[in-house]
Amino acid sequence: MMVLTRVPIDLAPLVEEVAAARRGGIATFIGLVRNHHEGREVVSLDYSAYEPMAEAVCAEIVAEAEERWPVKVAVRHRLGALAIGDAAVAIAAAGDHREEAFAACRYAIEELKRRVPIWKRERYADGTEGWVEGQGVGSREEERGVPQ
């Protein structure tokens, strides 16, 4: 299954993808477009990606989670123009027990934000636009800590 999609993300197919008769718990996370960011009113945004690398890194993260815990994980990330309230990312992790489902779901979203080459350009209510520099590797907050 491709991770990147330009159509609205529906959680149900992800849940189905990971569910199985012996699995007792499914943890999911949905990241939605918020109407505010650092005190500014956001009206819409655009996600873009280095697509082949983003697919590869997401597959890597899923494989890592599935190796670390007895789980099955599915990930989707939307690209293109999104409105407030649209799902930007969705993750589902199913395990025999809830502990591993929660742990794997959390791992996947944290690693996705840190490692997957996706960028976000926000449009604000005042007509301006700006690139969001998130918490990923290479972000300004981390610049001092990253080895050259």
Binding site: G134, R140, E143, V146
Partner: protein, 88 residues
């Protein structure tokens, strides 16, 4: 055996988001001598107009994998210069 052309292997450089905007393009081609590294690619790209905005800690990928500055590059390689990530 090694002519002048081999000494200037073309390397495809992809730019994204803020960097694509600053340099006015998504893709550049740079020519470097054999033995060049990712660090050399970054130095060359910084010479383009707008390229000085590329920070010292910028993440770089070589053929879809994150690599350090010392990774060797050659003809046919795809180097991507990645502004701070903001997925999710």
């Amino acid at each position: 055996m090694t002519g002048p052309k081999a000494q200037h292997a073309p390397i495809r450089v992809l730019l994204f988001a803020r960097y694509a905007e600053l340099l006015g393009t998504n893709v550049l081609e740079v020519h470097l001598s054999p033995g060049a590294t990712v660090g050399d690619v970054l130095d060359r790209v910084r010479e383009f107009p707008g390229g000085d905005a590329i920070g010292g800690s910028t993440l770089v990928a070589l053929n879809h994998r994150q690599v350090g500055r010392g990774a060797p590059v050659g003809s046919g390689d795809e180097v991507a210069i990645l502004p701070p990530l903001a997925g999710g």
